[in-house]
């Protein structure tokens, strides 16, 4: 198990290297002169030169890259042009909200999705199976920004039960905090519930038809126990894989959902950065989200090995 852990950790390094390279390259990939967005008719050539120097664009690309790596390794992601604060502190300030939102949505999506998929698989071919799967497909097909707006119209505007947006810090007002998180979490989770439910159903159907499930049945164990103790753990591998992918997708969707619900998270920071061409923010935000994504997938791989002893041998 320790060897496996070590191998997995080492394999992350080249990916991190590439990812940070791509974050660096953002400044070249996005069309247009990076300095153009900040300058107007009154700008003098000296202003342009000063901005280029601040962004490090006056140096040869290789030097820029080396400096980028040097700074990233020491935890310095540069200075936001617009906010005039270090990128790292801008991100760290907003990260908890984004992570909280993504985590809540992930818990909701996995919990509901696995339950629905398992339920459907054990009732294969019945109307219950078909209804659950139709709902899952519906959830999968709904665009998150549209669902968010719909939920706001129904629950905020018409019923007035929940706020339409904005964030209330947990410590200031726990109830207000909970209320402010409900709609964004649901919006974020619905698509993924459908995804996980369908995946779980097919994984469970696969497991249910296997010999060891019949063995468990031949022991006279209860149906629920067999499904939970023998079935689900064996179906967990594909479900976990999907969960890892979803965790990444959630971080991406959070960008949209934070915008819809006016939540001050990393997503909104990045959107603001993109709209105003605040390159250091875009680079730093991108790097941060990919690193989190990598970490999540590392955790998923470690969970594989915990669940299935055969994985450790590979």
């Amino acid at each position: 198990m320790r060897d496996y852990l070590l191998r997995r950790l080492v394999s992350v390094i080249p990916v991190l290297f590439l990812v940070s390279l791509m974050s660096f390259a953002v400044i070249w990939i996005i069309p247009g002169d990076p300095t153009a967005a900040f300058l107007d008719a009154s700008s003098t050539p000296e202003d342009v030169a000063r901005l280029r120097e601040m962004l490090g664009l006056d140096k040869p690309p290789l030097v820029q890259m080396a400096e980028w790596y040097g700074r990233v390794l020491t935890g310095d992601l540069g200075q936001s042009i617009l906010l005039r604060i270090p990128v790292l502190s801008a991100i760290l300030e907003r990260l908890p909200l984004t992570l909280l939102l993504a985590t809540l949505a992930l818990i909701l999506a996995v919990g509901l999705g696995v339950a629905a998929g398992t339920f459907a698989a054990t009732r294969r071919g019945t109307w219950a199976d078909q209804s659950v799967m139709s709902l899952a497909l519906l959830g999968l097909s709904v665009p998150d920004f549209w669902l968010g707006l719909l939920l706001i119209v129904v629950f905020s505007v018409q019923l007035g039960w929940l706020p339409s947006g904005g964030y209330v810090p947990l410590l200031d007002d726990p109830l207000g905090w909970a209320k402010s998180m409900v709609l964004p979490t649901i919006t974020l989770a619905v698509v993924q519930v459908g995804f996980i439910a369908r995946m779980t159903r097919s994984a469970m159907l696969d497991v249910i038809s296997q010999d060891f499930m019949r063995t468990a049945d031949s022991k006279g164990l209860s149906g629920l126990y067999i499904i939970l103790r023998h079935g689900l753990p064996n179906a967990m591998m594909p479900i976990l894989t999907v969960t890892g992918i979803i965790a990444g997708a959630l971080l991406g969707s959070a960008v949209v959902v934070e915008q819809v619900f006016a939540l001050p998270g990393v997503g909104r920071l990045i959107i603001g950065g993109i709209l105003s061409r605040d390159y250091p923010i875009i680079q730093g935000g991108l790097l941060f989200l990919t690193v989190i994504y990598l970490l999540i997938n590392l955790v998923v791989d470690l969970l594989y090995a915990t669940i299935d002893p055969r994985v450790r041998l590979e």
């Binding site: 010999d211 019949r214 063995t215 049945d217 031949s218 006279g220 164990l221 209860s222 002893p309 055969r310």
Partner: protein
């Protein structure tokens, strides 16, 4: 009174009255301490019989009629939950494929232990002690340390021993073994069969052993049931089956055992194959392949008739044209 009495068991595929049968009108009895071998070609319904008795049929296969009486109680009467209560307590089963019959991500000790804890009400400690005893009983070396093993860490023969330990955990009255050695290599086969026989003799449980290996039948059986296309062709004690097989199908099965004397001759086979589900002839199901078939065989299936005290046969012309002294004998 017999410990197990199966009466007119019929199992079909699909719903409705016209659903084709995979098992039709199967009746037999089995006493405690007896070994019944069920033989027949692939597709004859051997495994279906095992699964029907266990109550493990999966949709769309279902029992359409008949009773299964265990110790005087009809286990088909109480519905699925009552049947479930019988499994892992009165009824146990060992499957053909040891490689896939165990849960791949659960430790062996737990796979035995869950029966003891959940079905016999033992504490975790008791269950662990008992699991070690069971592993020792099925002759697994270093039993105590094997509790923590996962199935993939064991060989095929070892896994089948674990399966036997699982099946024995509840001390069943009836153990059904569905071709338990087919997937194993020959030397291991003999060990597993010896083990099964020892355990059966020692515990006094009834053993229903499904096999297509007539050598195994000769070694293990007290009674033999020959199934053909879902119907009982012949039922007799082991000696009678080998010495005086009455049904042409039994005769053909015995004739197809290769012997050393036959030298380079072609192997004897039964021409044709078992009719598919839903394609059964109306009369005797063996009629299309039977060398002794007469018109009388075709309109309706012959009933299982008692020939002698120890032999019943479902044939209008038992022994056919083959006189007893010409019957192929075994060994």
């Amino acid at each position: 009174m017999s410990m197990l009495k199966v009466e007119n068991l019929t199992t079909v595929v699909g719903s409705g009255a016209s659903a084709p049968s995979v098992l039709e009108d199967v009746s037999f009895t089995l006493d405690a301490g007896e070994v019944l071998c069920v033989v027949g070609e692939s597709g004859s319904g051997k495994s279906m019989l095992a699964l029907t008795i266990m109550g493990l049929l999966g949709f769309p296969v279902r029992r359409a009629g008949g009773r299964i009486i265990l110790d005087g109680d009809d286990i088909t009467a109480g519905g699925t939950s009552a049947w479930r209560q019988r499994r892992g307590r009165d009824l146990s089963m060992i499957f053909q494929e040891p490689m896939t019959s165990l849960n791949p991500i659960m430790r062996v000790g737990e796979q035995i232990g869950e029966v003891l804890r959940l079905r016999k009400g033992m504490s975790a400690d008791e269950a662990r002690r008992r699991a070690v005893e069971l592993l020792e009983r099925v002759e697994i070396p270093a039993a105590a340390s094997r509790l923590a093993a996962f199935p993939h860490e064991l060989s095929g023969g070892m896994r089948q021993r674990v399966m036997i330990a699982v099946a024995l955990a509840a001390e069943p009255k009836l153990l059904i073994a569905d071709e338990p050695t087919t997937a194993l290599d020959v030397t291991i086969q003999a060990q597993i069969l010896d083990l099964l026989r020892d355990i059966q003799a020692e515990s006094g449980m009834a053993l229903m052993l499904i096999t297509h290996d007539l050598g195994v039948v000769a070694e293990m059986a007290h009674k033999v049931m020959v199934l053909y296309a879902g119907r009982v062709a012949e039922m007799a004690d082991v000696k009678t089956v080998f010495d005086a097989p009455a049904h042409p199908y039994t005769q053909a099965l015995l004739a197809s055992i290769p012997s050393l004397d036959s030298g380079g001759d072609r192997l004897v086979t039964i021409p044709g194959s078992v009719p598919g589900v839903g394609l059964m002839p109306k009369g005797c199901r063996f009629a299309p392949r039977c060398p002794h078939v007469k018109e009388a065989c075709r309109p309706a299936p012959p009933p299982l008739a008692i020939l002698e005290a120890s032999q019943s046969v479902a044939c209008l012309r038992p022994f056919g044209y083959v006189r007893r002294e010409e019957t192929p004998t075994h060994g």
